[in-house]
């Protein structure tokens, strides 16, 4: 028997699983403190602690409990949503450049968001063009989430073929649909939504501004559903890495599991987009980093995605709040600004 007697491949320290897991936990525990401490007003960690325990001044308490804590927590959660959704989609489409925008989710959600503002105008007409806002903002999360899901459904339906779902077809169909939705969104905004440009622009850039406990409550059920979905998918996903016929020969019901993965990814992305608007970059970048760190083990990749996604979202948001304080840069912009050079660097290293 011809055997190769070279030494087994040793992983560098940073890539050993226990190290990574501790690293991830550390990130998740430490990062929120950043979010709570920094912002328009800088608080010391003692003040933050006091605010959390209810022992600080009323100002500190208000800043910590009413503004920063919900915002930071939501940041953590949407980071997880976008990162995991991107990870699933990259696996599903076998395209390392995929993320939720590819399914038209951001596009669908954006179009519905603009439509919500415009319709708000019609429902509550008046001399004041800003009168329509309460309607829009009230229903915005739900509506835009529905918009995102519809778009994903359309992409799925359009890319189905006799044999099932082809990853390339999915990507291309998604790109075309996303392009169309983007053009329609911009067009609608230009044509009908002139009064709301600034507000919508803020939303379209992906922002945590004004997020409250109510938003977190609305989001969490989807988070739970999504996480359960991801856990269920772990085993089928490993077989899905093989080519279609090979996976089927292992007994995998490919079409069914692809559909499940798509649903989970769409739900996580759409629910997050509904709350904060499209933040595409997290879904694109975080899975890449996770793969670099975690290697090929899917479970570790998944955990790293969760940790990194949460962390990066909060870091981006905090930076956005502090760099030009008291003006805010939305988390979508910061993550894109940070992400672009890093992403280019990652891509240049790829074979």
């Amino acid at each position: 028997m011809l055997a190769n007697t070279r030494e087994p491949h040793k992983k560098p320290l940073l890539q050993r699983t226990p190290v990574l897991l501790w690293f991830g936990c550390g990130l998740i525990v430490l990062t929120p403190w950043l979010g709570l401490q920094f912002g328009a007003t800088e608080l010391s960690w003692q003040q933050v602690l006091a605010g959390l325990l209810g022992e600080g001044s009323s100002h500190v308490e208000r800043v910590v409990m009413d503004l920063r804590l919900p915002r930071t927590l939501i940041g953590l959660v949407i980071g997880v949503h976008f990162a995991l959704s991107g990870w699933l989609l990259q696996l599903l489409t076998r395209n390392p450049l995929a993320e939720a925008g590819i399914l038209g989710i951001s596009g669908g959600a954006s179009l519905v968001a603009v439509a919500a503002f415009v319709v708000g105008d019609w429902i509550q007409p008046g001399d004041n063009p800003y009168a329509g806002i309460p309607f829009a903002l009230q229903y915005l999360p739900l509506l835009s989430m529905l918009g995102g899901l519809l778009a994903a459904l359309a992409v799925y339906g359009l890319s189905l073929r006799r044999g099932g779902l082809s990853p390339l077809k999915l990507t291309l169909t998604g790109a075309v649909l996303a392009g169309m939705l983007h053009a329609l969104t911009t067009g609608s905004l230009a044509f009908w939504g002139q009064a709301h440009t600034e507000l919508v622009a803020q939303w379209l850039a992906g922002s945590l501004y004004g997020t409250t406990w109510a938003h977190l409550e609305a989001l969490l059920p989807w988070t739970v559903l999504g996480l359960i979905g991801v856990v269920i998918l772990l085993r089928p996903l490993s077989a899905m890495q093989l080519e279609d016929e090979h996976a089927r020969s292992l007994g995998l019901r490919l079409n069914r599991w692809r559909a499940v993965a798509l649903v989970v990814a769409a739900l996580m992305a759409a629910s997050a987009v509904g709350i904060v608007g499209p933040v595409g970059f997290l879904g694109l970048l975080v899975p890449h980093i996770s793969r670099r760190l975690a290697g090929s083990g899917l479970v570790v990749q998944c955990l790293m995605c969760t940790a990194l996604g949460a962390t990066l979202a909060v870091v981006a948001d905090t930076l956005g709040r502090t760099i030009f304080a008291p003006y805010e840069l939305p988390v979508g912009v910061v993550s894109a600004a940070l992400g672009v050079p890093f992403f280019l660097y990652l891509l240049s290293r790829q074979p």
Partner: protein, 263 residues
Amino acid sequence: MLRTDQLTLAYGNTDVVHELSLAIPAGGISCLVGPNGSGKSTLLKGLAGLIAPRQGEVLLEEQPLSLWSRNELALRLAMLPQKPIVPEGILVKDLVALGRFPHRKWWQRDGREDREASRQAMYMTGVEALAERPVASLSGGQQQRAWIAMALAQQTDILLLDEPTTYLDWGYQLEVLELLVELNQTRRLTVIMSLHDLNQAAQFADHVLVLEDGQVKAAGVPGQVITETLLAQVFRVRGAVTLNDEGRPYCIARGTAKGLHSA
């Protein structure tokens, strides 16, 4: 064990395999040979249950494949496609472990039994020492052995391989074929594979099926099937077939056979 009954397989609107009825003998090494486009790949996929027949049936243990669940089928048949795609960055041991997929429900994780099966599979194919290495970094022959290990870990009675040697260097081709013979003899694994090289088929197979235009032109022991007439008619080769010292035929090509085909 595995047979077909008036099987017709199609791609889109074109029939590739026409009303084929054949039987694969259990416990041996069967080889499908034939020119490009004769339907070898399609037939293999049909035998593995990966293509639904337009007409006719494939029967495993006298039960049509359509009545088997995907999972049950995966516990009986393992298939290795042509040029399989290597998942990015995957290590040999993880690739082999993928072969255990049908043995556990989707909510279960791999257990001791699975790890043992993987280890054995890697041992038998000689890739145990490569377990921690990325599959993409191995040589052609090693990669193929890793894929075979994955199919072995599946612990099936039947292994189907689509042109397992076509993309390998000569030495590696023989390495893989010898491995398959050994597995067939020690594990009683039924091997069904398509090969391009007639001489390899002659040397390693117990049973040869010659396909042409989706029909079986000849089937049987290599010595009976591989004849000069066959070479001329199906492969358009004018050659000489002699028996080597092991009683197996081998072919030497002298040139093309013209005028023996109508079109």
